[in-house]
C-alpha cells in the first residue's frame, strides 16, 4: 500500500482556482469518507485551508488511485480545467515529507505559522471519526504531528511576529504581560489600525475606543470590535484610561502631542503607556517618547521587527528539513 498526495496550494494555483477546490470545514469528514470509496483507494483524507487543498490517499496502485481522484475532481469541481496545471502529485516518502513540512508550517505562505497545525489536526480528526483513515494514514498523520511539534519546539521557526500587527502585539505583551484588561484607543479608523487593534483584542485586550474625524466610520469600527466610538474632539479625555494608543490617521501633521500625555500623567498614576504610530506622515510627536513611562514605536520599527523575524525563520529552514528527514527515517512508516 502506498501513501499518495494530490494537492494545490498558494504557489501552484491562484485564489480563483483554490476557491473552487476548497472544502468547507463541515464537509471535511464526508469528503474524506468519499475519497476512501474511490476505485483503488483504501483510505482517504482531505485538508482544506485558504491556501491549500490536499488529498491524502492510501492505495495499492498509485496510478489507479490518482486517476480515480482526478476523474472525480474533474467531473465534480472543474470540468473545464486541466488539473495538471495546478496540482502536484507526491508519493510514498515524498508525500510523507510534504505532510510533515505542512504540519510544521514550512509550506505555509507565512513561514512557521501555527494555524495550519490545528487545521491539519482537525481534518485528520474528522476523517478518523468517519472511518476514512486506516493503518497507513493513521500512522503517517500521527507521526507527522509529532514531527511537526518537534520542529516547532526544537527550532526558532515560529519565533517572532512576522507582521506589523503581530510585532505590535509582541511588544504590548513585553510591556504589559497578559493583555487581558488592557484598554486600547484607536485614533483613525484605517485598515492598518483595525488589524493591529484586532490582533490586540484577539490576545485579550478589552475596552477598545475608536476615534476618527468621521464619527460614523469610528462607530463602524467600534461595533466591529465590540468597542466604543469617541468623538474626535474628545479623544484626549480617554487617554487617562487607556494602556495602548494606536494611531493611523491621514493627517498631514502630528495628532498626539506631549502636552496631551502630560495632562493625564497624574491621573494615570504614571502607568506605562504604549504608543503605536503606524501613520505616514507620523501622527505621534517623537517628543512623546521622551516621557518616562511612554514607549513609542513607529511603523519603521515595527516593520523592521517583522522583517528580522522573517529572516530568522528563513535561516531555520535547513535545520527543520534535517529534523524531518531524520525523524522520518527513524519512523519506518507504512506506505512510505
Amino acid at each position: 500500500m502506498d501513501l499518495l498526495c494530490l494537492g494545490l496550494n498558494h504557489r501552484t494555483a491562484p485564489v480563483e482556482v483554490r476557491e473552487r477546490f476548497a472544502v468547507p470545514g463541515h464537509q471535511l469528514a464526508e469528503t474524506s469518507a468519499e475519497l476512501a470509496k474511490l476505485d483503488g483507494v483504501a483510505e482517504g483524507l482531505v485538508i482544506s485551508t485558504c491556501n491549500r487543498t490536499e488529498y491524502y490517499l492510501a492505495g495499492e496502485d498509485a496510478h489507479r488511485a490518482f486517476a480515480a481522484l482526478e476523474t472525480r475532481l474533474a467531473a465534480e469541481i472543474a470540468p473545464d480545467h486541466d488539473l495538471g496545471d495546478h496540482f502536484y502529485h507526491k508519493q510514498r516518502g515524498e508525500a510523507a515529507r510534504h505532510l510533515c513540512r505542512v504540519a510544521a508550517g514550512l509550506d505555509s505562505m507565512v513561514l512557521g505559522e501555527t494555524e495550519i497545525f490545528g487545521q491539519v489536526k482537525a481534518a485528520y480528526a474528522a476523517a478518523l471519526d468517519h472511518g476514512a483513515t486506516g493503518p497507513v494514514l493513521n500512522r503517517v498523520f500521527q507521526r507527522a504531528f509529532s514531527i511537526g511539534k518537534k520542529v516547532r519546539t526544537d527550532t526558532a521557526i515560529q519565533e517572532g511576529a512576522t507582521s506589523v500587527a503581530g510585532a505590535a502585539v509582541e511588544l504590548a505583551e513585553k510591556i504589559f504581560g497578559k493583555l487581558a484588561g488592557c484598554r486600547v484607543i484607536v485614533v483613525g479608523a484605517g485598515e492598518m489600525s483595525r488589524q493591529t487593534a484586532q490582533a490586540l483584542v484577539s490576545r485579550g485586550a478589552s475596552s477598545v475606543f475608536v476615534t476618527n474625524r468621521s464619527f460614523e466610520r469610528a462607530g463602524e469600527l467600534a461595533r466591529e470590535m465590540g468597542g466604543l466610538a469617541v468623538r474626535f474632539d474628545e479623544w484626549t479625555a480617554a487617554l487617562a484610561d487607556v494602556d495602548v494608543v494606536i494611531s493611523s490617521t491621514s493627517a498631514p501633521h502630528t495628532v498626539v502631542l506631549p502636552a496631551h500625555i502630560q495632562a493625564v500623567r497624574r491621573k494615570r498614576k504614571y502607568r506605562p503607556l504604549f504608543l503605536i504610530d503606524i501613520a505616514v506622515p507620523r501622527d505621534i510627536d517623537a517628543a512623546c517618547g521622551a516621557i518616562e513611562e511612554v514607549y513609542l514605536y513607529d511603523i519603521d520599527t515595527l516593520e523592521q521587527l517583522a522583517e528580522e523575524a522573517r529572516h530568522r525563520r528563513q535561516r531555520q529552514i535547513e535545520l527543520c528539513e534535517s529534523i524531518i528527514g531524520a525523524e522520518l527515517e527513524k519512523a519506518n512508516l507504512p506506505g512510505v
Binding site: L171, E173, K174, I175, F176, G177, R266, R268, K269, Y270, R271, P272, G289, E292, E293, Y295, Y297, T301, L305, E308
Partner: protein, 254 residues
Amino acid sequence: MDRWYLIASTLFALAGGAWGLWSVLHGTRSRWTMASMVAVFGFQLAFLSARGEARGACPLRDTGEILVFLAWSLTMFYLIVGSAYRLSLLGVFTAPVVVVFHGVALFSGLLDSSPERVASHNFWGEVHAAVSVLAYGALALAAVAGVMFLVLDRLLKDHHLTGGLFGNLPPARELLVSLQRLLWLGGGLLTLGVLAGVLMPRTGSASHLIVATLVWLGYMALIFTQQTRGLTGRRLSWCALAGFVISLAVFAFI
C-alpha cells in the same frame, strides 16, 4: 563544617548565575538556575542551622552571620516570587547578589570562626534581628526586580528589541507588580522588626534604633507615594534600589 556549607552554597549560586547568564546571552531559558538556587537555599539552611546550634540562639551575632541570613532571606523570597510569577530570570540577577554577600562573609573576616554560645536570650531582641533581616531579604529582592525593570526599560526605550536578554526578561508590568508586592512585604516585616526593636531592652546608644526607624520611614514614604500619587516604573525602581543600598551602607557603619 559550617564554612564548607557556605562555600558549597556560594559555588551553587555562582554556577546558577553563570549558567543563567550564558543561557540569556544565547537566547534560551535557563532550566538550571531555579534548581541551583534551591541548592543554594539548602546549603544556606545547613549553614545557619549549624551556626544556630553552636550559638544556641538565632545566628545573627556577627556581621558575617547577618549577611548570610540576609542572603538566605533573599534566596527564599526569590524562590517564592520567582516560581509564582515565572520570573526565572530573576535568579540570574539574584545569584550575583547572593555570591557577593556570601563572599564578603567568607573572606573579609566578618564571620566568627569559632562562634561562642550565647549566655542570655532576649525574646524581643531575637525577633527584632530575625524579622528585620527577613524584611531586608524582601527589600533586596525588590531592588533586584528594580534593576531588571531598569534594564528592560532601557532596552524598550532604545528599541533594542531582539537580543537574548530582551527576550528573557519578564514583562515590565509584571516586574513592577512584583516589586510593589515585595516592597509591601518588606515594609510590613520591617514594621514588625522596628516594633520589636522598641520593645527590646536597650543598653547604650539608641543610634541603631533611630537609623532603623528612619529607614522604615523612608520605605513607608515610598509605599505611600506609590499607592496614592503613583510613580513611574523608573522612579520606583531607582527608589527601591537606592533604599536598599543606602540602608545596607548605613547599617554597615553603625
